[in-house]
């Protein structure tokens, strides 16, 4: 038995070396989101093409963040490719922790990457992480419930319309909740949504002197509006609902509207998982007429930590996973609606993809987000639903816990804002601003 298996391994090794002169095994850390799981399932295609093998470390988002941050900061070198976001990329690149991807070959067509994504993943003109998929946020709503409420959703609604519609759609006896929004504490959970929403109400995290702004009337309007709306038209337990919980509720037909990541569109319209697949339509995230919409900009991207021994293989992997060919490969197996969206211009120019119901709304949403100029008033930071400074994740998670507690009815909006203001000021002072 043992002899057999070692012969088999030797055979496999021989085969692997035959396909490529530099066959390596790389370790890739990634999130357990649907698109990444699909990529994991297609690993064999990559191995067949390049000879390199891939060992996957697939973790839930919070655990993954903690693991990769710890590893890159301590220079543990456990991963050759890491899945990181638009928030981490510029900060880590500035520390010299990431390898530049500007030297990818011409066939990769780096200029095909959507400008919004490329901008958010670059530092000083160098691309440090290649977008696997990009997203903004938009409204997903139930057409049947909307017409039952006697309303028609405009392509670009206001918050007042959304609030009104949500209240009219709500039917708590039948477990229909007008609107599902994130409430689970975390900088990438409720704070992503609330920060983007606050932008549309004219609020900002910091003024030009890095003074926290939670004591401003704009934040108070934002938070009060959100709390009132969720109390009237939100699902029970909203303060522990994140992206996944809301997705599951929407797929079960319990939400009238859901404002969240554009990537969710392919899950809610997929009849295999969604009970409401044929009754969903899309609209831009709401505004208040101040010129900014409440939608964010995000990309999950692949980056190579500096110090990896397997740079060449890692680059080959990133090239493969974020290429046009990969999109075509997924389309050939799962259909165009299931390709990772929001990363390449050519995808949106593709007539086959244009038939996908959410393609245009996704692109419009992505294009309407401006990380360098996120809100009405000027700000010293970059980022729509985050602030691209290292302290942000820690601060925003704590602020998110205060807002989440307010949503759970444990404190008022004023108390939550006062605590948020105090702890942000405290942390910013500690960081030396």
């Amino acid at each position: 038995m043992q002899i057999k298996s070692s012969v088999a391994i030797a055979g496999m090794l021989a085969f692997a070396t035959a396909t490529s002169a530099f066959a390596e095994t790389i370790t890739v850390a990634t999130v357990n989101n649907g698109d990444m799981i699909r990529m994991q399932g297609l690993t064999e295609e990559f191995t067949a093409k390049t000879g390199h093998k891939v060992e996957w470390v697939t973790l839930e988002e919070n655990v993954l963040r903690q693991r990769v941050t710890q590893d890159v900061a301590a220079k543990g070198g456990q991963f050759d490719v890491m899945t990181i976001g638009m928030y981490e990329t510029p900060i880590w690149a500035k520390q010299g922790w990431l390898l530049s991807l500007n030297d990818l070959p011409a066939s990769y067509d780096i200029d095909d990457i959507l400008p919004a994504m490329r901008g958010g993943l670059s530092l000083d003109g160098q691309l440090y992480a290649a977008p696997f998929y990009g997203e903004s946020s938009m409204i997903m709503y139930r057409t049947d419930l909307m017409s039952k409420a006697g309303l028609e959703m405009p392509d670009a609604p206001t918050w007042d319309f959304v609030a009104d519609a949500a209240r009219k759609m709500t039917d708590k006896d039948n477990e229909i909740y007008g609107i599902c929004l994130r409430g689970k504490a975390g900088w990438g959970e409720n704070m992503a949504f609330l920060t983007a929403t606050a932008n549309s109400f004219g609020a900002r995290w910091f003024d030009e002197d890095w003074k926290p702004q939670f004591d401003s009337p704009e934040w108070k309007t934002t938070l009060t509006f959100y709390l009132d709306l969720m109390t009237d038209a939100g699902p029970p337990g909203a303060s522990t609902n994140g992206f996944n919980e809301n997705l599951s509720l929407f797929q079960q037909g319990k939400c009238g509207m859901w404002i969240d990541a554009t990537v969710a569109a392919s899950f809610v319209t997929n009849p295999k998982d969604s009970t409401v697949a044929d009754k969903v339509s899309f609209a831009l995230a709401p505004d208040t007429g101040m010129g900014k919409r409440g939608n964010w900009l995000w990309a999950w991207a692949l980056a190579i930590p500096a110090g990896t021994q397997k740079e060449a293989a890692a680059k080959e992997f990133i090239q493969w996973a974020t290429s046009k060919d990969y999109l075509a490969l997924v389309a050939s197996k799962e259909g165009w609606a299931n390709v990772p969206p929001g990363s390449r211009k050519s995808l949106y120019e593709n007539p086959d993809y244009a038939k996908v119901p959410f393609a245009k709304m996704t692109l419009d949403s992505i294009n309407s987000a401006d990380p360098t100029n996120p809100t009405v008033k000027p700000v010293p930071y970059i980022g729509v639903q985050f602030v691209a400074i290292p302290e942000f994740a820690g601060i925003a998670t704590q602020v998110g816990q205060e807002f989440s507690a307010a949503l759970a009815g444990q404190q008022t909006a004023d108390e939550a804002l006062a605590k948020a203001q105090a702890l942000t000021a405290e942390e910013m002072e500690a960081a030396g601003y």
Binding site: T69, P235, S239, T240, P390, T397
Partner: protein
Amino acid sequence: MATQQSRSAARIMLAPAVILLLGWMLVPLTMTLYFSFKKYLPLRGGDLGWAGFDNYVRFVTSSAFWPSIQSTLIIVIGVLLITVVLGVLLAQLLDQPMWGQGIVRILVIAPFFVMPTVSALVWKNMFMDPVNGLLAHLWKFFGAQPVEWLSDAPLFSIIMIVSWQWLPFATLILLTAIQSLDSEQLEAAEMDGAPVLARFGYIVLPHLSRAIAIVILIQTIFLLSIFAEIFVTTGGAFGTRTLTYLIFQRVLESQNVGLGSAGGVYAIVLANIVAYFLMRIVGKNLDA
């Protein structure tokens, strides 16, 4: 009685365990102490020089500090109370003659084999979820409004989950202790007409005091450091941030190693205070 020779042999035999544990304690402790006096921010370039006692001051003056001590104590004491009280009752029950005793015992100890992450995930999603959870269905069945467990009663929910995991352990130790009770003594008391409660209070409980002390000691050691249950269920929101969790937030979420290390030192001090009192109580019961 022990000879000089066996004494020195004993010392040599004890040495590996002691040296290993001493290293396991001292090396990380020294490094933690070192970091705690540093301004050490990996995301800002790492070591930014000495910070004196800044980290220590900042950690205790932070608005999150005292609430975190409070929730740590509530969770530890709550779980101890539930597991010891229910454990004594359950052990009494399992000691009675019945059919299928072995199978009942297997059912009761099963939760102890479940890893904390799994039990937190299962409780959170499949039982405490206010829409799809089984408890919500149960509440609705009786016409009540489902409880939003993790936001309305967060500490209680966590105490329940953790108690479920540790009740088997307490029950088992207490059961072995009850089984060693001299049944003649109990029968004699029964003959004398002592009521059930008196028999329990004057004979069973004193007999169990030693076992209870041991349950408290061992569980406290594990409970002070519970992490997965909070990480999975509330992520530290709604006042469930324990000291351990606060340190986790400082070190890993905020990537402030200096501040987190200062917190670690506080946690070590707290643990040792608790340990000291526990040892005094349990030590008396431990005739070493």
